[in-house]
Amino acid sequence: QQQVKQSPQSLIVQKGGISIINCAYENTAFDYFPWYQQFPGKGPALLIAIRPDVSEKKEGRFTISFNKSAKQFSLHIMDSQPGDSATYFCAGGTGNQFYFGTGTSLTVIP
């Protein structure tokens, strides 16, 4: 079964626009929700993460919104830039085991 569902599969945004990627999880025992950014040929790199005791976390242009009751969380990229073009993965889990979403390919058009 898919523990973490992610949408959309691909996203095209104009430079300066807002990119929004959504995820939903199944297991209420999950206590950590990271987002990873992956460029072609590279490993995933941690972008930002949140725990379920907060509803929002912001780091620069990146914001996670978390809705514990709906078991959903999302990544917002403000003022999207061409350099943000990459694949983004959400994940959820506990200390030793994480489940990744299927990924969103983001393209930011100049």
């Binding site: 490993g43 995933p44 941690l46 200390g95 030793n96 990744f100 979403g101 299927t102």
Partner: protein, 116 residues
Amino acid sequence: EPEVTQTPSHQVTQMGQEVILRCVPISNHLYFYWYRQILGQKVEFLVSFYNNEISEKSEIFDDQFSVERPDGSNFTLKIRSTKLEDSAMYFCASGGSQREFLDTQYFGPGTRLTVL
């Protein structure tokens, strides 16, 4: 900045052969992980390792797979008899230099395994 390294970057092997993928985690990390990513698909958890033993493993991590930390720096994944469907990118990750940072995992660049 410290980083996770992996060797080789690309491994080609014949079906049925054994392969060993190597990783050097970040030096003060205590938790080690292997993930795989089939081309164009999501990252899948294989196994986590702490205190010289497996902490968690997924259903993918069957008897054909094993992990080892042979010395103070390396962390290896062995696939005993490779199958065509083992072809994927294999990522090593490490994390947890302190208990409160347990969940942050740092990924290596990956080893692309091609089974012919």
